[in-house]
């Protein structure tokens, strides 16, 4: 998709957003360590899922703001809207772009995180882990893109996004952290994670449909 390619080229060229997000994520991990290990030898095993996903969600907030800020400058958004493309196509392209960025960050962040915080080897559970990761990512990106489209057009742009995004993403957070912590702490196959995986899948489907129905309104004028 042309839009996707354009966004990717642009980002890869400047690498601003990616580098900032990766640095943010890594720094957050360091901060978490110091924040939580006040007691000597505190066991963070059951905090791992939470730490990981909180970091990703806040990093996405940064990234979402950026990806739309660029459209707002130079009124490129007008240029996009003038083209004979469905508004929904724009939504999917933007979401896909954000998803790819998130995945890139995760490719870097997860190994580092494992190094810092995870005692157990979870190679055996790698597949379920990746599935959970992907499903949660889709939900975050789809919902995030829709909301960023709205918040971009308001007076307090990037301040608004966390307020409207965070309450909505809590279900995903709950499911993802639960699943991830289980995998990191005790190990769980698809069986134990089934409920959460199905939930994430359902969440994604429902909200993509909702975005599909409302995106025209969100982006138009």
């Amino acid at each position: 998709m042309a839009i996707l390619r354009k966004d990717l080229i642009r980002e890869l060229r400047t690498r601003e957003m990616l580098i900032s997000m990766i640095l943010f994520v890594l720094l957050a991990m360091v901060i978490f360590h110091y924040a939580f290990t006040v007691k000597e030898g505190a066991d963070l095993t059951y905090f791992t899922g939470g730490m990981l996903w909180v970091t990703f969600i806040f990093a996405m907030l940064l990234g979402l703001n950026r990806s739309f800020a660029q459209e707002k400058d130079e009124r490129c958004l007008d240029g996009l809207l003038l083209c004979p493309v469905d508004r929904v196509t724009i939504f999917f392209a933007k979401t896909a772009g954000n998803l790819i960025f998130l995945l890139i960050i995760q490719v870097v962040a997860v190994p580092v995180f494992t190094l810092f915080f995870v005692e157990r080897s979870y190679v055996g559970d790698l597949l379920p882990f990746l599935v959970v990761l992907l499903l949660a990512d889709v939900g975050i990106c789809a919902l995030g893109t829709l909301l960023a489209t709205i918040s971009m057009n308001t007076r307090s742009r990037d301040l608004l996004l966390p307020i409207i995004f965070l309450p909505l993403i809590v279900p995903v957070l709950i499911a993802a952290t639960g699943a991830t912590t289980l995998i990191f702490a005790e190990g769980a196959g698809f069986g134990g994670l089934l409920a959460r995986v199905l939930f994430l899948l359902g969440f994604d489907v429902v909200f993509i449909v909702a975005a599909y129905g409302t995106y025209d309104f969100a982006i138009g004028e």
Partner: protein, 227 residues
């Protein structure tokens, strides 16, 4: 018939139902056999308030869809009124829930499904109001608010569902699959309160719609005089 549905009458009817419900709850329904005893009575208000809040948000959801289809601002107004009322009721749910929690289990707060869902609901709809406050242009504000109202309402059951993944909480389940779990007399009191609460909601909706309409008209007049 119209007399019965007019705004002041509605308030009266709601008031009557609620008072009757209260009386029934205290005098007619037996004291709860389980450990909670007398404090369980708060349930007769707590649950109706909760369900009414959800009804309000549901109406906002429908109004949002209607607005997106018709672009008629009256739906936006209905949505705003319903969200505000829903938010108010939700805060009450939290308060009554916390009182009940303290009385029955000795803790002010517990991270269990229903309380936390309503906490998030509060945040969600406060976000709705914040969103409205940062968009100046009317049509656009209504559009964004509508989109958010739709998404938010879908998110509520999702949140509730998700919170059930956590370890079982202290909240007693009222409506089980095997029946309502309440004896007849309790049921009656409960339903009366429920009716009263719903009537109260409708009464407030009507009143607030009128207030909003007046506000808009005043703003229009100001504009004409000023500009």
């Amino acid at each position: 018939m119209k007399q019965l549905v007019s705004a002041p009458a509605l308030f009266v009817e709601a008031g009557i139902c609620l008072v009757v419900g209260l009386l029934l709850a205290f005098l007619y329904a037996p004291v709860d056999a389980s450990s909670m005893g007398f404090s369980q009575k708060i349930f007769f208000y707590h649950v109706p308030i909760a369900e009414t809040a959800l009804v309000a948000f549901g109406v906002a959801f429908v109004a949002a869809i209607a607005y997106l289809r018709t672009q008629d601002l009256k739906w936006d107004r209905l949505g705003l009124v319903c969200v505000r009322l829903g938010l108010l009721f939700s805060l009450l749910v939290m308060v009554t829930g916390m009182i009940w929690g303290k009385a029955a289990w000795g803790v002010w707060w517990a991270w269990e499904p229903r309380l936390t869902t309503f906490l998030l609901v509060c945040f969600l709809y406060i976000a709705y109001l914040v969103l409205r406050s940062v968009v100046e242009e009317e049509q656009r504000r209504a559009t964004y608010a509508a989109v958010f109202a739709i998404i938010a309402f879908i998110d509520v059951p999702m949140t509730f569902f998700a919170t059930r993944f956590l370890p079982e909480g202290l909240h007693p389940v009222v409506i089980t699959t095997s029946g309502t779990g309440m004896e007849g007399s309790m049921l009656v009191s409960f339903l009366v309160s429920m009716l009263g609460m719903t009537l109260l909601l409708v009464a407030f909706i009507r009143r607030d719609l009128t207030v909003e309409d007046l506000k808009d008209r005043v703003a229009d007049l100001k504009n004409t005089i000023g500009g």
